[in-house]
Point group: C2
Chain length 193, copies 2
């Protein structure tokens, strides 16, 4: 998606260690008008799927998922990191390793909100090693729901997550795929369509 | 706001210990069409304020803030709980006690995204003892920005947060104020307008 690539070039900050900071428009400060354009693009990419629920994981996926869900006219469900005392009842649980925070989270979703009747679009801001997305896929599989697709804003194509998830047969679409990063620059993979 | 009160009566679950669960439509599963109505109401309540940024705190405030920000045509900034290794540079920090999770969080916001030129509307899903909102107010005050108002979806009027924050002179509007809770029912305060 050219609009996104242009914005990453303009406002993204590349740092040593394959770090791409997009916190001025995507995941700390959020440019809502711009994120609406991402939501429209996700709708275009998954328009033919019978999606009835958008699934994401807290925290930075939630806003993007909510804006995107408007174009599908469906609710959002977000998986939570770690146990909350107010979340009782039956839950799907999985474990997710975060390289950013260097720890393993328990990720939970109330079983009331996902079941065999659901057709799910998973949305998240970043895909790198794939741990968060694999955790969400595990939760959907435990629920018996159907994964109609996964929509990612920025994929680090040089890490293994994307290949691993496409090999599982998941219909994964990333709006921008970073092919290579150096200490201060990056190149994108050409768009599929 | 009658629409919200009706929804709480219909889908909220009251539990012993003053717990009100609205996780089927507000803060775990999110009814996006309904949350758009909340966003429109926040716009109505703060229409005369020169708001240029919506501020919230992760996680459950983010979606509501993003939907609401659409009606103001402004970006969202969300404060983060605990240090992330990808958040470098200057930050505003404060401490917030969570009674739900029974711990004290460090809450941080990059100083790039809030400064003396900003006019802020704070948005969050719940107000009870006020700790999260006081933390956000502290961050705005540290930044030199102006607090134009605080919009809360559900306030527990029998806890001290609302009174404390109104006494500070903050223009606080809650879409529904729960006046009293028993082990299995609740009553609302009458709407102001």
């Amino acid at each position: 998606m050219q609009l996104l690539k242009d914005r990453i070039i303009k406002d993204g900050v590349v740092k040593p260690g394959n770090i791409l900071k997009v916190d001025s428009f995507l995941n700390h400060q959020m440019d809502i008008a711009f994120i609406n354009e991402l939501g429209k693009e996700f709708k275009r990419l998954f328009a033919d799927k019978p999606i009835n629920k958008v699934l994401t994981i807290e925290a930075s996926g939630i806003g993007i998922a909510c804006i995107t869900a408007q174009y599908f006219n469906v609710p959002v469900v977000f998986a939570k990191k770690a146990q909350s005392v107010n979340l009782d009842g039956d839950m799907y649980t999985t474990k997710v390793e975060s390289f950013t925070h260097k720890k393993v989270y328990d990720v939970i979703l109330s079983s009331k909100f996902l079941g065999p009747e659901d057709h799910v679009l998973i949305i998240d801001d970043f895909l790198a090693n794939g741990c968060a997305l694999l955790g969400l896929i595990d939760i959907v599989q435990k629920s018996g729901a159907t994964i109609e697709g996964a929509g990612i804003v920025i994929e680090k194509g040089f890490q293994e997550g994307g290949a691993k998830i496409r090999e599982m047969g998941i219909n994964l679409k990333s709006l921008a795929i970073v092919e290579e990063m150096s200490d201060d620059s990056l190149t994108f993979r050409a768009d599929e369509e």
